[in-house]
């Protein structure tokens, strides 16, 4: 099901927010949503598409590192 929710269950350091894109157009515009699912990490980096578990985790961790190093 939702990998974001599952990694949040596994790690107390991860929080997951699912946003209904049509219901919050201002949030969608702020984070450049043009297609779904769009995954935004630390309100900065993002990727689009439903990825398999290994690729999803890699992408999230890479974007989290970018944020912390910025």
């Amino acid at each position: 099901m939702s990998l974001a929710n599952r990694v949040s269950v596994a790690s107390p350091l991860i929080s997951a927010r699912t946003v209904e894109a049509n219901e919050f157009p201002e949030l969608s515009a702020r984070f450049g949503v043009q297609g779904v699912p769009r995954i935004v990490v630390n309100e900065r980096g993002a990727f689009v598409g439903a990825l398999p578990e290994p690729q999803f985790v890699d992408a999230v961790l890479q974007l989290a590192v970018v944020k912390s190093e910025a």
């Binding site: 991860i14 946003v19 949030l27 985790v57």
Partner: protein, 149 residues
Amino acid sequence: MAILTDQVKRQVHARFAEQLSGPVQLTLYTRPGTGRLILPTGLGCRTCDDARQLVDDLQEAAPDLISLEVIDVSVQETDVREVPTLTLACPGESPRIRWLGFPAGYEFATVVDAVERVSSGDHGLSAATLEALGTLTEPVDVMVFATPT
């Protein structure tokens, strides 16, 4: 109009009876609804009534293990700005899983799944994923923009 059909309610009840093992806390942040009227941002809430009905149905599917708190943001001070917002956690813990907006369609399935996983603690992830997550040293916020279909 009912949000969940009687058949879906029975399915959720049966799943929860089999899958839930520990208590979970649902909190719904809401504002007095305005039916289907679309008002400027910050006024009313087009889907809060539907969200309330949905979480009531979820709670009634396993009343011994699911606690529900409903917070009217127009009355009670809170950091939550977007409504409806639904949060899920183990009782006494800060929620790390939330849905902004009415979780209909596919998103309803993610709510049911998350309730089961938080209750059981079974994330279902691989050992490699757990090892990778173990390298984290700082909080990570993951937002997933989705649509109901």
